[in-house]
Protein backbone atom coordinates (compact mmCIF):
# COMPACT_ATOMS: atom_id res chain seq x y z
CA UNK A 1 0.00 0.00 0.00
CA UNK A 2 1.54 3.36 -0.91
CA UNK A 3 1.77 6.11 1.59
CA UNK A 4 -0.83 8.38 0.07
CA UNK A 5 -3.48 5.73 -0.03
CA UNK A 6 -2.65 4.78 3.52
CA UNK A 7 -3.08 8.36 4.71
CA UNK A 8 -6.40 8.73 2.95
CA UNK A 9 -7.51 5.43 4.38
CA UNK A 10 -6.44 6.39 7.89
CA UNK A 11 -8.17 9.74 7.58
CA UNK A 12 -11.38 8.12 6.47
CA UNK A 13 -11.19 5.66 9.34
CA UNK A 14 -10.61 8.40 11.86
CA UNK A 15 -13.57 10.31 10.54
CA UNK A 16 -15.75 7.22 10.71
CA UNK A 17 -14.50 5.98 14.07
CA UNK A 18 -16.53 8.09 16.46
CA UNK A 19 -19.65 7.25 14.55
CA UNK A 20 -18.84 3.56 14.63
CA UNK A 21 -18.35 3.67 18.41
CA UNK A 22 -21.54 5.66 18.79
CA UNK A 23 -23.52 3.23 16.67
CA UNK A 24 -22.14 0.36 18.69
CA UNK A 25 -23.51 1.76 21.92
CA UNK A 26 -26.86 2.62 20.39
CA UNK A 27 -26.94 -0.87 19.01
CA UNK A 28 -26.15 -2.27 22.41
CA UNK A 29 -28.99 -0.32 23.98
CA UNK A 30 -31.53 -1.55 21.48
CA UNK A 31 -30.08 -5.08 21.55
CA UNK A 32 -30.70 -5.13 25.28
CA UNK A 33 -34.33 -4.10 24.87
CA UNK A 34 -34.89 -6.48 21.97
CA UNK A 35 -33.60 -9.42 23.94
CA UNK A 36 -35.61 -8.33 26.99
CA UNK A 37 -38.75 -8.27 24.85
CA UNK A 38 -37.82 -11.67 23.40
CA UNK A 39 -37.45 -13.17 26.88
CA UNK A 40 -40.75 -11.73 28.08
CA UNK A 41 -42.52 -13.12 25.03
CA UNK A 42 -40.98 -16.55 25.62
CA UNK A 43 -42.29 -16.66 29.18
CA UNK A 44 -45.77 -15.63 28.06
CA UNK A 45 -45.78 -18.20 25.26
CA UNK A 46 -44.57 -20.94 27.61
CA UNK A 47 -48.06 -21.19 29.07
CA UNK A 48 -46.73 -21.86 32.57
CA UNK A 49 -48.82 -21.30 35.65
CA UNK A 50 -49.02 -17.84 37.18
CA UNK A 51 -46.62 -18.46 40.08
CA UNK A 52 -44.01 -20.01 37.80
CA UNK A 53 -44.37 -17.02 35.47
CA UNK A 54 -43.82 -14.54 38.30
CA UNK A 55 -40.59 -16.33 39.18
CA UNK A 56 -39.49 -16.14 35.55
CA UNK A 57 -40.31 -12.45 35.44
CA UNK A 58 -38.31 -11.88 38.59
CA UNK A 59 -35.31 -13.55 36.93
CA UNK A 60 -35.77 -11.40 33.81
CA UNK A 61 -36.02 -8.31 35.98
CA UNK A 62 -32.77 -9.22 37.76
CA UNK A 63 -31.00 -9.92 34.51
CA UNK A 64 -32.00 -6.85 32.53
CA UNK A 65 -32.54 -4.08 35.03
CA UNK A 66 -30.34 -2.07 37.32
CA UNK A 67 -32.01 -3.45 40.42
CA UNK A 68 -29.95 -1.54 42.96
CA UNK A 69 -30.63 1.77 41.23
CA UNK A 70 -34.34 1.02 40.97
CA UNK A 71 -34.58 0.04 44.63
CA UNK A 72 -32.60 3.08 45.78
CA UNK A 73 -34.78 5.40 43.70
CA UNK A 74 -38.02 3.82 44.90
CA UNK A 75 -37.06 4.17 48.55
CA UNK A 76 -36.02 7.78 47.94
CA UNK A 77 -34.81 9.97 50.80
CA UNK A 78 -35.93 7.39 53.34
CA UNK A 79 -33.04 5.31 52.05
CA UNK A 80 -30.66 7.60 53.89
CA UNK A 81 -31.80 6.43 57.30
CA UNK A 82 -32.01 2.74 56.32
CA UNK A 83 -29.39 0.38 57.72
CA UNK A 84 -27.43 -1.72 55.24
CA UNK A 85 -29.35 -4.86 56.14
CA UNK A 86 -32.63 -2.96 55.67
CA UNK A 87 -31.44 -1.77 52.26
CA UNK A 88 -30.61 -5.30 51.24
CA UNK A 89 -33.89 -6.71 52.50
CA UNK A 90 -35.83 -3.87 50.87
CA UNK A 91 -34.12 -4.41 47.54
CA UNK A 92 -34.99 -8.11 47.60
CA UNK A 93 -38.59 -7.64 48.73
CA UNK A 94 -39.08 -4.87 46.17
CA UNK A 95 -37.95 -7.12 43.32
CA UNK A 96 -40.47 -9.77 44.28
CA UNK A 97 -43.22 -7.18 44.64
CA UNK A 98 -42.56 -5.50 41.32
CA UNK A 99 -42.27 -8.80 39.40
CA UNK A 100 -45.62 -9.85 40.70
CA UNK A 101 -47.28 -6.50 40.15
CA UNK A 102 -46.15 -6.14 36.55
CA UNK A 103 -46.03 -9.87 35.87
CA UNK A 104 -49.77 -9.95 36.48
CA UNK A 105 -50.19 -7.34 33.79
CA UNK A 106 -48.06 -9.15 31.21
CA UNK A 107 -51.10 -11.26 30.46
CA UNK A 108 -52.39 -8.28 28.51
CA UNK A 109 -49.27 -8.71 26.43
CA UNK A 110 -50.28 -12.10 25.04
CA UNK A 111 -50.43 -11.91 21.26
CA UNK A 112 -48.94 -8.44 21.31
CA UNK A 113 -45.52 -7.12 20.40
CA UNK A 114 -43.11 -4.37 21.30
CA UNK A 115 -41.17 -2.81 18.45
CA UNK A 116 -37.97 -0.83 18.93
CA UNK A 117 -38.35 2.44 17.02
CA UNK A 118 -35.24 4.40 17.84
CA UNK A 119 -32.41 5.08 20.22
CA UNK A 120 -31.25 8.45 21.43
CA UNK A 121 -28.39 9.41 23.71
CA UNK A 122 -29.38 11.66 26.63
CA UNK A 123 -26.60 12.83 28.92
CA UNK A 124 -25.00 9.59 30.11
CA UNK A 125 -27.74 7.17 29.15
CA UNK A 126 -29.79 6.02 26.19
CA UNK A 127 -33.47 6.32 25.56
CA UNK A 128 -34.85 3.38 23.61
CA UNK A 129 -38.28 4.23 22.27
CA UNK A 130 -40.61 1.41 21.41
CA UNK A 131 -44.20 1.11 20.30
CA UNK A 132 -46.40 -1.46 22.00
CA UNK A 133 -49.01 -3.15 19.85
CA UNK A 134 -51.45 -4.95 22.09
CA UNK A 135 -54.58 -6.80 21.09
CA UNK A 136 -57.63 -4.58 20.95
CA UNK A 137 -55.75 -1.41 21.92
CA UNK A 138 -54.39 1.42 19.88
CA UNK A 139 -50.57 1.36 19.76
CA UNK A 140 -48.82 3.30 22.50
CA UNK A 141 -45.34 4.53 23.30
CA UNK A 142 -43.05 2.80 25.78
CA UNK A 143 -39.59 4.23 26.44
CA UNK A 144 -36.79 2.39 28.23
CA UNK A 145 -33.80 4.18 29.75
CA UNK A 146 -30.59 2.19 29.47
CA UNK A 147 -27.23 2.87 31.09
CA UNK A 148 -23.97 1.02 31.74
CA UNK A 149 -23.48 2.69 35.12
CA UNK A 150 -23.05 -0.68 36.82
CA UNK A 151 -20.56 -1.88 34.22
CA UNK A 152 -23.28 -3.79 32.39
CA UNK A 153 -25.93 -2.53 29.99
CA UNK A 154 -29.12 -2.46 32.04
CA UNK A 155 -32.39 -0.60 31.90
CA UNK A 156 -33.11 1.61 34.88
CA UNK A 157 -36.48 3.17 34.11
CA UNK A 158 -39.46 2.90 31.83
CA UNK A 159 -42.07 5.38 30.59
CA UNK A 160 -45.47 4.29 29.35
CA UNK A 161 -47.20 7.11 27.46
CA UNK A 162 -45.24 9.59 29.51
CA UNK A 163 -45.87 7.90 32.85
CA UNK A 164 -42.62 7.34 34.74
CA UNK A 165 -42.79 3.92 36.35
CA UNK A 166 -40.07 4.59 38.91
CA UNK A 167 -41.74 7.77 40.07
CA UNK A 168 -45.04 5.92 40.33
CA UNK A 169 -43.39 3.23 42.44
CA UNK A 170 -41.65 5.78 44.64
CA UNK A 171 -45.05 7.35 45.35
CA UNK A 172 -46.45 3.94 46.17
CA UNK A 173 -43.54 3.02 48.46
CA UNK A 174 -43.88 6.41 50.16
CA UNK A 175 -47.59 5.76 50.74
CA UNK A 176 -46.96 2.32 52.24
CA UNK A 177 -44.27 3.82 54.44
CA UNK A 178 -46.65 6.59 55.59
CA UNK A 179 -49.34 4.09 56.48
CA UNK A 180 -46.74 2.30 58.63
CA UNK A 181 -45.61 5.52 60.34
CA UNK A 182 -42.29 5.45 58.50
CA UNK A 183 -41.25 2.03 59.77
CA UNK A 184 -38.93 0.55 57.11
CA UNK A 185 -39.14 -2.98 58.51
CA UNK A 186 -42.93 -2.86 58.33
CA UNK A 187 -42.62 -1.64 54.73
CA UNK A 188 -40.40 -4.60 53.87
CA UNK A 189 -42.86 -7.00 55.52
CA UNK A 190 -45.74 -5.46 53.55
CA UNK A 191 -43.84 -5.81 50.24
CA UNK A 192 -43.14 -9.45 51.06
CA UNK A 193 -46.82 -9.98 51.75
CA UNK A 194 -47.69 -8.43 48.37
CA UNK A 195 -45.16 -10.52 46.43
Amino acid sequence: MDRRKFLIGAGAMLAAAPQALWALTENRASTLINSLVGDINRVIDSGKGETAMFREFERIFQRYSDTSYIAAYALGVDGRRASSSQKKAFSKAFQGYISRKYGKRFREFIGGKLEVKGVKKVKKWYEVSTIAYLKGQSPFEVTFLVSDRSGRDLFFNMFIEGVNLLLTERTEIGAILDSNKGDIDALIAELKRLS
Binding site: D66, T67, S68, Y69, A71, A72, Y73, L75, G79, A82, S84, K87, K88, F90, S91, K101, K104, R105, R107, E108, V122, K123, K124, W125, E127, G136, Q137, S138, T143, L145, S147, R149, F156, N157, F159, E161, G162, V163, N164, L167, T168, T171, E172, A175, I176, D178, S179
Partner: protein, 253 residues
Protein backbone atom coordinates in the same frame (compact mmCIF):
# COMPACT_ATOMS: atom_id res chain seq x y z
CA UNK B 1 -82.71 21.99 25.99
CA UNK B 2 -84.37 25.13 24.53
CA UNK B 3 -82.18 26.63 21.87
CA UNK B 4 -82.07 30.10 23.38
CA UNK B 5 -80.76 28.96 26.70
CA UNK B 6 -77.62 27.45 25.24
CA UNK B 7 -75.55 30.58 24.61
CA UNK B 8 -76.48 31.74 28.10
CA UNK B 9 -75.21 28.50 29.54
CA UNK B 10 -72.07 28.82 27.52
CA UNK B 11 -71.39 32.28 28.89
CA UNK B 12 -71.97 31.18 32.45
CA UNK B 13 -69.69 28.21 31.89
CA UNK B 14 -66.99 30.56 30.69
CA UNK B 15 -67.40 32.82 33.70
CA UNK B 16 -67.29 29.86 36.04
CA UNK B 17 -64.27 28.59 34.16
CA UNK B 18 -62.48 31.89 34.47
CA UNK B 19 -63.20 31.95 38.17
CA UNK B 20 -61.81 28.47 38.67
CA UNK B 21 -58.75 29.12 36.56
CA UNK B 22 -57.97 32.34 38.36
CA UNK B 23 -58.04 30.78 41.79
CA UNK B 24 -54.56 29.50 42.35
CA UNK B 25 -51.23 29.58 40.63
CA UNK B 26 -48.13 27.56 41.22
CA UNK B 27 -44.75 28.97 41.97
CA UNK B 28 -42.77 28.56 38.70
CA UNK B 29 -39.74 27.13 40.50
CA UNK B 30 -41.85 24.39 42.06
CA UNK B 31 -43.46 23.74 38.67
CA UNK B 32 -40.09 23.32 37.00
CA UNK B 33 -38.98 20.80 39.60
CA UNK B 34 -42.01 18.71 38.68
CA UNK B 35 -43.79 19.14 42.00
CA UNK B 36 -47.49 18.42 42.07
CA UNK B 37 -49.60 21.53 42.65
CA UNK B 38 -52.55 20.43 44.71
CA UNK B 39 -53.84 23.22 46.97
CA UNK B 40 -57.32 21.67 47.14
CA UNK B 41 -56.07 18.29 48.27
CA UNK B 42 -58.59 17.87 51.08
CA UNK B 43 -61.59 18.57 48.84
CA UNK B 44 -60.06 16.49 46.07
CA UNK B 45 -59.58 13.55 48.39
CA UNK B 46 -63.23 13.80 49.41
CA UNK B 47 -64.32 13.73 45.77
CA UNK B 48 -61.91 10.89 45.11
CA UNK B 49 -63.51 8.83 47.87
CA UNK B 50 -66.91 9.58 46.36
CA UNK B 51 -65.76 8.63 42.84
CA UNK B 52 -64.22 5.44 44.13
CA UNK B 53 -67.47 4.54 45.85
CA UNK B 54 -69.47 5.18 42.68
CA UNK B 55 -67.00 3.09 40.71
CA UNK B 56 -67.03 0.21 43.14
CA UNK B 57 -70.79 0.08 43.56
CA UNK B 58 -72.04 1.03 40.11
CA UNK B 59 -69.62 1.89 37.35
CA UNK B 60 -67.19 -1.00 37.69
CA UNK B 61 -69.80 -3.77 37.91
CA UNK B 62 -71.88 -2.19 35.13
CA UNK B 63 -68.84 -1.87 32.89
CA UNK B 64 -67.60 -5.36 33.58
CA UNK B 65 -71.08 -6.67 32.85
CA UNK B 66 -71.28 -4.59 29.70
CA UNK B 67 -68.03 -5.91 28.18
CA UNK B 68 -68.87 -9.44 29.33
CA UNK B 69 -72.35 -9.48 27.78
CA UNK B 70 -71.92 -7.31 24.70
CA UNK B 71 -69.57 -8.82 22.09
CA UNK B 72 -66.23 -7.03 21.77
CA UNK B 73 -66.80 -5.80 18.17
CA UNK B 74 -69.99 -4.08 19.30
CA UNK B 75 -68.24 -2.44 22.25
CA UNK B 76 -65.69 -1.12 19.76
CA UNK B 77 -68.48 0.08 17.44
CA UNK B 78 -70.20 2.03 20.19
CA UNK B 79 -66.90 3.58 21.13
CA UNK B 80 -66.35 4.62 17.49
CA UNK B 81 -69.83 6.08 17.48
CA UNK B 82 -69.15 8.28 20.50
CA UNK B 83 -65.81 9.32 19.11
CA UNK B 84 -67.36 10.27 15.80
CA UNK B 85 -69.91 12.49 17.53
CA UNK B 86 -67.06 14.39 19.14
CA UNK B 87 -65.32 15.11 15.82
CA UNK B 88 -67.09 18.40 14.93
CA UNK B 89 -66.14 19.77 18.35
CA UNK B 90 -62.59 18.52 17.95
CA UNK B 91 -62.40 20.17 14.53
CA UNK B 92 -63.33 23.51 16.06
CA UNK B 93 -60.71 23.04 18.77
CA UNK B 94 -58.11 22.22 16.14
CA UNK B 95 -59.03 25.43 14.30
CA UNK B 96 -58.81 27.43 17.53
CA UNK B 97 -55.36 25.96 18.01
CA UNK B 98 -54.44 27.11 14.52
CA UNK B 99 -53.80 23.51 13.52
CA UNK B 100 -55.36 23.28 10.06
CA UNK B 101 -54.03 19.81 9.41
CA UNK B 102 -55.62 18.42 12.56
CA UNK B 103 -58.88 20.22 11.74
CA UNK B 104 -58.80 18.67 8.26
CA UNK B 105 -58.27 15.24 9.75
CA UNK B 106 -61.19 15.70 12.15
CA UNK B 107 -63.36 16.87 9.26
CA UNK B 108 -62.37 13.93 7.04
CA UNK B 109 -62.96 11.49 9.86
CA UNK B 110 -66.42 12.87 10.54
CA UNK B 111 -67.45 12.87 6.88
CA UNK B 112 -66.04 9.42 6.08
CA UNK B 113 -67.20 7.69 9.25
CA UNK B 114 -70.66 9.28 9.25
CA UNK B 115 -71.33 8.06 5.71
CA UNK B 116 -69.28 5.01 4.73
CA UNK B 117 -68.88 4.13 8.39
CA UNK B 118 -72.59 3.56 9.12
CA UNK B 119 -73.25 6.77 11.06
CA UNK B 120 -69.95 6.38 12.90
CA UNK B 121 -70.36 2.81 14.10
CA UNK B 122 -67.38 1.75 12.01
CA UNK B 123 -64.08 3.47 11.50
CA UNK B 124 -63.17 3.28 7.80
CA UNK B 125 -61.28 6.58 8.17
CA UNK B 126 -58.51 4.72 9.99
CA UNK B 127 -58.35 2.22 7.15
CA UNK B 128 -57.95 5.13 4.73
CA UNK B 129 -55.05 6.20 6.96
CA UNK B 130 -56.63 9.39 8.24
CA UNK B 131 -54.60 9.97 11.43
CA UNK B 132 -56.39 9.72 14.77
CA UNK B 133 -57.59 13.00 16.29
CA UNK B 134 -57.71 13.48 20.02
CA UNK B 135 -57.92 17.05 21.17
CA UNK B 136 -60.08 19.15 23.45
CA UNK B 137 -60.58 22.67 24.73
CA UNK B 138 -58.08 22.03 27.51
CA UNK B 139 -55.45 21.58 24.83
CA UNK B 140 -56.69 24.71 23.06
CA UNK B 141 -56.18 26.66 26.28
CA UNK B 142 -52.72 25.11 26.58
CA UNK B 143 -51.88 26.30 23.05
CA UNK B 144 -53.07 29.76 24.03
CA UNK B 145 -50.59 29.74 26.86
CA UNK B 146 -52.90 28.99 29.78
CA UNK B 147 -51.00 27.09 32.45
CA UNK B 148 -52.13 23.81 33.87
CA UNK B 149 -53.24 25.32 37.17
CA UNK B 150 -54.10 23.24 40.20
CA UNK B 151 -54.84 19.55 40.21
CA UNK B 152 -58.55 18.86 40.71
CA UNK B 153 -60.58 15.71 40.85
CA UNK B 154 -64.00 16.17 39.29
CA UNK B 155 -67.06 14.32 40.57
CA UNK B 156 -67.78 11.33 38.29
CA UNK B 157 -65.25 12.51 35.69
CA UNK B 158 -62.12 11.91 37.73
CA UNK B 159 -58.65 13.49 37.60
CA UNK B 160 -58.24 16.87 35.89
CA UNK B 161 -56.60 20.24 36.34
CA UNK B 162 -58.27 23.62 36.71
CA UNK B 163 -57.41 24.35 33.08
CA UNK B 164 -58.68 21.03 31.79
CA UNK B 165 -61.83 21.25 33.92
CA UNK B 166 -62.63 24.49 32.08
CA UNK B 167 -61.96 22.59 28.86
CA UNK B 168 -64.39 19.84 29.79
CA UNK B 169 -67.12 22.36 30.61
CA UNK B 170 -66.60 24.37 27.42
CA UNK B 171 -66.46 21.25 25.23
CA UNK B 172 -69.65 20.04 26.84
CA UNK B 173 -71.63 23.22 26.29
CA UNK B 174 -70.32 24.04 22.85
CA UNK B 175 -70.62 20.73 21.04
CA UNK B 176 -71.84 21.90 17.60
CA UNK B 177 -74.09 18.86 17.33
CA UNK B 178 -76.13 20.24 20.19
CA UNK B 179 -76.96 23.28 18.06
CA UNK B 180 -77.58 21.37 14.86
CA UNK B 181 -80.39 19.17 16.10
CA UNK B 182 -83.23 20.16 18.34
CA UNK B 183 -83.21 17.90 21.33
CA UNK B 184 -82.09 14.43 20.51
CA UNK B 185 -78.51 14.75 19.35
CA UNK B 186 -77.30 16.42 22.46
CA UNK B 187 -78.61 13.67 24.67
CA UNK B 188 -77.25 11.04 22.32
CA UNK B 189 -73.81 12.56 22.70
CA UNK B 190 -73.95 12.17 26.46
CA UNK B 191 -75.30 8.63 26.40
CA UNK B 192 -72.79 7.60 23.76
CA UNK B 193 -69.99 9.04 25.87
CA UNK B 194 -71.15 7.13 28.95
CA UNK B 195 -71.30 3.91 26.96
CA UNK B 196 -67.83 4.58 25.53
CA UNK B 197 -66.45 5.13 29.03
CA UNK B 198 -68.04 1.91 30.20
CA UNK B 199 -66.29 0.10 27.37
CA UNK B 200 -62.95 1.58 28.42
CA UNK B 201 -63.56 0.84 32.09
CA UNK B 202 -64.41 -2.76 31.23
CA UNK B 203 -61.58 -3.31 28.76
CA UNK B 204 -58.86 -1.79 30.93
CA UNK B 205 -60.36 -3.13 34.10
CA UNK B 206 -57.12 -4.70 35.43
CA UNK B 207 -55.14 -1.50 34.99
CA UNK B 208 -57.77 0.70 36.59
CA UNK B 209 -58.43 -1.75 39.42
CA UNK B 210 -54.73 -1.87 40.24
CA UNK B 211 -54.64 1.92 40.58
CA UNK B 212 -57.93 2.35 42.44
CA UNK B 213 -58.01 -0.72 44.67
CA UNK B 214 -54.56 -2.22 44.94
CA UNK B 215 -52.39 0.76 45.71
CA UNK B 216 -51.62 2.14 49.14
CA UNK B 217 -52.80 5.63 48.18
CA UNK B 218 -55.05 5.50 45.15
CA UNK B 219 -55.53 9.26 45.20
CA UNK B 220 -51.80 10.00 44.92
CA UNK B 221 -51.37 7.32 42.24
CA UNK B 222 -54.24 8.61 40.08
CA UNK B 223 -52.98 12.17 40.44
CA UNK B 224 -49.42 11.33 39.44
CA UNK B 225 -50.41 9.13 36.52
CA UNK B 226 -52.98 11.60 35.20
CA UNK B 227 -50.65 14.61 35.35
CA UNK B 228 -47.73 12.84 33.69
CA UNK B 229 -49.85 11.36 30.95
CA UNK B 230 -51.65 14.64 30.27
CA UNK B 231 -48.37 16.55 30.02
CA UNK B 232 -47.04 13.89 27.68
CA UNK B 233 -50.16 14.20 25.53
CA UNK B 234 -49.81 17.98 25.33
CA UNK B 235 -46.09 17.77 24.64
CA UNK B 236 -45.64 19.69 27.89
CA UNK B 237 -43.36 17.13 29.49
CA UNK B 238 -40.08 18.87 28.60
CA UNK B 239 -37.47 16.27 27.81
CA UNK B 240 -37.83 13.22 29.99
CA UNK B 241 -36.47 14.60 33.22
CA UNK B 242 -34.38 12.07 34.98
CA UNK B 243 -31.93 12.44 37.77
CA UNK B 244 -28.52 11.30 36.65
CA UNK B 245 -28.31 7.56 37.41
CA UNK B 246 -24.63 8.11 38.18
CA UNK B 247 -25.50 10.50 40.98
CA UNK B 248 -27.85 8.45 43.09
CA UNK B 249 -26.19 6.67 46.00
CA UNK B 250 -27.05 3.01 45.44
CA UNK B 251 -24.62 1.61 47.94
CA UNK B 252 -26.05 -1.26 49.93
CA UNK B 253 -29.10 -1.89 47.71
Amino acid sequence: MPFLLRPLKFVSALILAGAVAGCATQDPVARASGEVFDPYERTNRGIHAFNRGVDRLAFRPASKGYVAVVPAPMVTSFSHFAENLSMPGQMINALLQGNLKLAGNAFSRFVINSTVGFAGLADPASEFNVPAVDTDFGQTLHTWGVGEGAYVELPLLGPSTSRDAVGVAVDFFTNPLGYAEQNTADNITIYAEIVRRMGDRGNYSDTIDSILYESADSYAQSRLIYLQNRRFQLGDGKEIQEIDPFELNTEGF
